[in-house]
């Protein structure tokens, strides 16, 4: 039986359809999870997809973080379940304190939408184990508030522990400190990523197939577990 990967839909989520499709393409079974249900339906991993949950009111992710579904997500993440937050999902993970730091308004004030080159710097997480260390990939990036901020001590700790999983290459699109595009928690099961791997899984619509590796990685992690 293929692993069951939950994809959460909040009011204002946009990319749940693509995330579920990416899971299916990678060989997993996507399971729709609803923000209002404190029920993970026995999934093996959870994806918090991109979008503008609750209209980004108050702060991006600030209200979603208190949605009923987040209570079991936070508990499961603490117990080691793989959790991937993409874009708005990354913001929700930071607001939930599952990941350190915060994502603020792009330095340029512009909403950025481009195919972005990244360098993968940690290949031991549940979501990046299928990459080669230092591998450069191109996946879409689309955000208005993707500027990763944390205090110097936190940034130094992330660097020292190898917890920066991906960095922007060529261009830092949003002003993120130290070109950070994605980070992981100490255990390597929770990953937050600003660009969108779920939009780079097939030739017809994506700039590459690089995104699919995030989804096949978690299947490897779960099957190996």
């Amino acid at each position: 039986m293929s692993p069951r990967i939950g994809v959460v839909t909040f009011p204002g989520t946009l990319d749940d359809g693509d995330a579920a499709r990416a899971v299916r393409f990678a060989g997993g079974e996507p399971v729709a999870l609803w923000h209002g249900d404190a029920d993970l339906k026995s999934v093996d991993a959870v994806i918090l997809p991109g979008g503008f949950s609750y209209g980004d009111y108050l702060r991006c992710g600030a209200i979603s973080r208190f949605a009923p579904v987040m209570t079991p997500v936070i508990t499961a993440a603490g117990a080691g379940m793989p959790v991937l937050g993409i874009c708005n999902g990354f913001q929700i993970l930071c607001e939930s304190h599952l990941l350190p730091g915060a994502l603020t308004r792009n330095q340029s004030m512009h909403f950025i939408c481009r195919d972005q080159r990244l360098r993968i710097e940690n290949t031991s997480t549940a979501w990046t184990n299928g990459f080669a260390h230092g591998q450069e990939i191109v996946i879409p990036l689309k955000n208005g508030e993707g500027n990763f901020n944390a205090d110097t001590a936190t940034l130094d700790e992330l660097e020292a522990e190898g917890r920066v999983i991906a960095r922007y290459v060529d261009v830092n699109p949003n002003g993120s400190q130290r070109d950070i595009a994605g980070i992981t928690n100490a255990r390597g099961n929770v990953v937050g990523l600003m660009p969108h791997p779920e939009h780079a899984i097939e030739d017809l619509t994506g700039p590459s197939l690089d995104g699919l590796v995030f989804f096949s990685s978690v299947l490897n992690a779960l099957v190996g577990a």
């Binding site: 607001e95 915060a102 603020t104 308004r105 500027n147």
Partner: protein, 83 residues
Amino acid sequence: MARVVVDVMLKPEILDPQGRAVQGALGRLGLTGVADVRQGKQFIITMDGDVAGERLEQLHALAAELLSNPVIENYVLRVEADA
């Protein structure tokens, strides 16, 4: 009734692109000598009854947990009686 006012500002070390854009606009509209602009949020919470003790502690906790993000923001809370 009591009025609880919570001001939330980005920490001084966090870049405020919105404030910077407003600063630019002030300059374009002829205001000279603008050294800096920071933009924040104000919440005005009208409460039934007095606000003190446990309720005030609860408000402080929620100001830190929900209304602001301590990673990037500071808040100041004050209670104004007789809303």
